[in-house]
């Protein structure tokens, strides 16, 4: 059964107001910015965002007023520094107050891993002695029942939906993902629903030719969105590189509230979809990001 869906329909159907959304899971790469922009255009509210570092995606959603709670390790702009909208929300309640449940990259990954394993929590020695567990009501330091030594218990987090950017998928949601994976696979296995954003839609047989490159099962996938360029300005291995200048421009433009609103109007609200966004970005800028030095893997033999 084909699950091919437009971005607008996928967001409308699977990301309702109040949903918990795991997004931006492969750290700096494969960030589904096109999906976030559609969430903003549909004026979604009271979302919980779950992720490791998110780069500037969480900041944009926070500034647009879509977010009530953050469960993340880091909210900023990786190559530039602080996140201006996150600061305004946390320090001044603009556009409204925000709850942050702090994690580390390991603990947020373990929380999703626990959910994907059907375990209520996972114990770890990371973050003992940190103030992070003191300010996150869901993290608990307990004595191990085995030897009494301190352990941090990280409870499972099951997102309502995980939005995962992949290089290629078939119409049913059998997908290939490569490069560094971050916690994308854990999120796929943890979430109730998965939305895939794919650079390319390919034949089923191409996916089954290399099943070790598939991060999770098609049957959790509710929608497959064909969205070339959908991660820009984040990189997609084998498709395009990171647009470093775009992060700098965002950082500079969003220093003030007015600047953020102007940026949002220009790049999100005033743009109907990702195709129009890429047209606005311009062919010359896009070409500069294209892969110049290809590096193809050797084929492997799955025969018998």
């Amino acid at each position: 059964m084909s699950k091919l869906t437009s971005m607008a329909e996928a967001i409308a159907r699977y990301v309702p107001d109040g949903a918990s959304v795991a997004i931006g899971l492969a750290l700096e790469a494969l960030i589904p910015h096109a999906a976030a922009h559609e969430i903003i255009r549909q004026r979604r509210q009271r979302l919980t965002l779950i992720g490791p570092i998110s780069d500037i995606l969480f900041d944009q959603l926070i500034g647009a007023g879509c977010v009530e709670k953050i469960q993340a390790a880091w909210v900023g702009n990786v190559s530039e520094g602080l996140a201006h909208c996150y600061r305004r929300a946390t320090e001044k309640g603009i556009p409204h107050p925000l709850v942050t449940e702090s994690h580390s990259n390991f603990s947020i990954g373990l929380a999703l891993f626990a959910a994907g394993m059907g375990s209520p929590y996972i114990p770890t020695l990371s973050l003992l002695g940190s103030d992070i567990p003191r300010h996150n009501p869901h993290l608990r330091v307990e004595a191990s029942p085995f030897d009494g030594s301190p352990v941090l218990l990280v409870p499972a987090i099951q997102p309502d939906v995980a939005i995962i950017h992949v290089q290629r998928s078939d119409e049913e949601g059998n997908a290939h993902l490569w490069g560094n994976l971050g916690i994308a696979q854990e999120a796929w296995l943890a979430a109730r629903d998965v939305i895939l954003i794919a650079e390319e839609i390919v034949d089923h047989a191409l996916i089954t030719s290399d099943p070790n490159r598939v991060p999770g099962p098609f049957f959790k996938v509710r929608a497959v969105v064909h969205e070339p360029g959908g991660a820009h300005p984040a990189p997609v291995q084998g498709y395009y590189n990171r647009d470093h200048a775009f992060y700098h421009e965002y950082h500079t433009a969003t220093r003030t509230l007015e600047g953020y609103q102007t940026w949002l109007e220009e790049w999100v609200l005033g743009v109907p979809d990702r195709a129009a966004y890429l047209e606005k970005l311009g062919e010359q800028r896009w070409q500069a990001l294209e892969v110049k030095k290809h590096r193809y893997a050797a084929p492997v033999d799955y025969g018998y």
Binding site: L27, A72, L82, S130, I132, N180
Partner: protein, 271 residues
Amino acid sequence: MEYTAKELMVVCAARQIRDHERVFVGMRLPLIAFALAKRTHAPDCVGLFESGTLRDSPADELLYTMGDAPNITDSLWATSTLHVMGLMATGEIDLGFIGGAEIDRYGNLNTTLIGDWEHPTVRLPGSGGGADIASLANRLAIIMPHERHRLRERVDFVTSPGYGYPDEQGPAGVSWRMRQGLPRRGSWLQRQGLPRQGPCALITTLAVFTFEFTTGEALLQSYHPGSSIEEVQAQTGWPLRLAPDCAETVPPSAEELAVIRACDPQGVWTR
């Protein structure tokens, strides 16, 4: 020879890397320090990245982030965050690098917020993987700008634990027994249940600190050429203690500078 403070910090960071070590490489300056160590005194070290990457060679291009495509090309292993974090949790990683906004005399690092939790004056991005690296790497090196408001007697929020604080149960730091793998008791790291041994170096724009592990206190190990003990004291929010062999930082060699400038010709991170 002319060089920038950041170039000297890269050199100091690279000197923390020993040959054959497994290094958890952080953002920005450590990316270049890893390349420098590989190309000079530590040709057989390997780098791990929390995005889920293992490399035995630096990427061919300057990295703005560890997730940039050139950092995947020709890597030894492209995998998940939990796999590389898990390696660190099992004690397989020799050295980790992190940065921060604030640090105190016990090496506790804050990247979460300035002010208090309910009413922060500045909300910082948070831990990322920093608190994990501080908790789980065998040695920890910290890199940050040296300003009096950043090097404080006590930080507002301990994101990444260093040697903790003295309290009614005992001193900060880590005991001799734990250093030698004997059963845990005594000082702060053991009381928390942390499995490793705390920071080994704090590298700043003015100086390098090491730590006295039995008290957890920072010791001024060296001050950079052009700076002085007096200037370091003026920019540090606690009374300095000097290492017995405190001296001027050894400046970069011509070879080290050449490697750094080949990695970062535009000076994106090092100027």
